[in-house]
């Protein structure tokens, strides 16, 4: 069992020079020869999956295999926006399941993930935006997801740096506000789940790259994985590899409806509190909040071509900052401190894929595109149940892989919902 985190333990350790702190999670150099369940991918989603498996389903021995260091992918590279005001009930149910878990996550994990429900404000700049966002408000309220319509003046009151003047190119016509939305500390999510999962006996193996998937010649079922640290047997394999999903699934002979794009984000130099909420404008592509450290955290767009380079182009940053300066002109003299790129795996309908695959014992959780972080706890929770029971969790069921064959897609993007 991990040592308890609290102000008292912190104070006690302060008196003895913090000599008593242990590693937050066990990180065995080598994996065991076999596990009942292997989770492939040590990002937030994979670690959450392992945690909820161990806590709620106890399928036996569990390992998480990570090719680099945990939380090093999109978990540690996103703008940490959390919201659930999606249009379609299937999506709203999935993301709101996550928000409900976020609300108790620090206590659940005994790790401060700094969930900050400071409100997510989506700005409308055209009649079409207004119609689309009001449709969201109606749909969300019916589904029990909080979402309210604000006038421009109310937007300004909620987000003082916002310019609602008529002189800007695309004046603000109103906004949809989800007060329960907000941000969290991305690294803490990976570390917190790792610590809690490790305490429940999950092996977290870092620097362990998977090179092949072993299958039973007759049934075709998954029997294990080949890794840079040797063969690891498993009864069930859950792939949670985000941008690398296509590369892993092809090892099992599966072509996925996925493409991986570079997505960039940036932060400004740290300043005193100036931006109280999260603001998003998908018409002009501006996504901004302020971290507790004081940095303005700004989401940029994806490049147009697929890539695994984790590096994006400068023109993407230009367009992003044009948009930010347009609706927040007081920030034009702020400086970009750091920009970085992640690899996002995008599905044709911009909704994730969670569930079984044609290969017995192989499960996949991918396709979160630009919006995966917000779903982390919910994604892990329903994927764990899906793996444990061998059938989709009710919330995950609509996101099955075969929806692309039937045509029952869940197209949030086409329905003018914003990404992120």
């Amino acid at each position: 069992m991990a040592q308890r985190f609290s102000f008292l333990t912190l104070a006690r350790e302060a008196l003895r020079g913090h000599a008593g702190w242990h590693p937050h999670w066990r990180s065995p150099e080598r994996p065991q020869p076999a596990y009942d369940v292997v989770i492939l991918g040590g990002g937030g989603h994979g670690l959450a999956t392992a945690y909820y498996l161990a806590k709620e389903h106890k399928p036996g021995r569990i390992a998480v295999l990570e090719k680099g260091w945990i939380g090093g992918g999109n978990t540690g590279r996103n703008t940490t926006i959390i919201r659930s005001n999606y249009l379609f009930p299937e999506s709203a149910a999935l993301y709101d399941h996550a928000v409900q878990l976020w609300e108790g996550l620090s206590a659940e994990l005994n790790y401060n993930v700094m969930f900050s429900p400071r409100g997510v404000l989506m700005l409308a700049h055209s009649e079409h935006d207004v119609q689309s966002f009001k449709r969201h408000v109606h749909a969300n309220r019916l589904a029990g997801v909080d979402n309210e319509w604000l006038t421009p003046a109310e937007c300004k009151e909620f987000c003082p740096p916002l310019d609602i003047g008529a002189h800007i190119r695309y004046p603000v016509l109103g906004g949809a506000l989800q007060r329960r939305g907000g941000i969290a500390r991305h690294d803490a999510v990976a570390w917190g789940y790792a610590r809690a999962a490790s305490a429940l006996g999950v092996d977290i193996i870092e620097n362990c790259e998977v090179t092949g998937i072993a299958r039973d010649p007759r049934s075709g079922a998954v029997t294990g994985v080949e890794t840079s640290k040797g063969h690891v047997g498993c009864g069930k394999l859950g792939v949670v590899a985000a941008g690398s999903t296509s590369l892993v699934m092809v090892m099992a002979g599966l072509r996925m409806p996925l493409e991986s794009f570079p997505l960039q984000a940036l932060v400004s130099e740290p300043v005193k509190p100036v931006f109280p909420c999260v603001a998003m404008s998908n018409t002009i592509h501006a996504y901004i909040s302020q971290s507790d450290k004081g940095e303005l955290v700004i989401g940029a767009g994806t490049d147009q071509y697929t890539s695994y380079s984790q590096a994006g182009n400068v023109q993407i940053l230009e367009h992003t900052l044009e948009a930010i300066c347009e609706i927040f002109p007081i920030f034009r003299r702020m400086r970009m401190l750091r920009a970085w790129g992640g690899i996002v795996d995008v599905t044709p309908d911009r909704s994730p894929i969670i569930g079984r695959t044609p290969v017995p014992g192989l499960y996949v959780n991918c396709g979160w595109g630009t919006g995966g972080f917000k779903a982390t706890p919910g994604s892990g929770h329903v994927f764990a149940a899906t793996i444990a029971r061998g059938e989709p969790h009710p919330i995950a069921a609509p996101f099955s892989l075969d929806r692309f064959v039937t045509g029952r897609v869940i197209d949030e993007a086409a329905a003018a919902a914003v990404m992120h």
Partner: protein, 88 residues
Amino acid sequence: MLLITCPWCGPRPEIEFRHAGEAHIARPADPAAVSDAAWAAYLYERSNPRGEHAERWRHAHGCGRFFNARRHTLTDRISATTKPGETP
């Protein structure tokens, strides 16, 4: 910003071009004859490789032509661009 060699116009900056997805995904000659699964594969399944990638670009703000390119998705380097139907 990539520098892309349009097979007609020569090297041009990436912002003149529009990426048009994976190349050589043949539209079934008789769509009515293929199964839902095969049709879905045509519509949605992509190789999305880490490495050499055959893809399509259009010189949208130039000569307007579509063409094929071979690009490495880890280095983003384009090793060849060819007119449709040509082989490098």
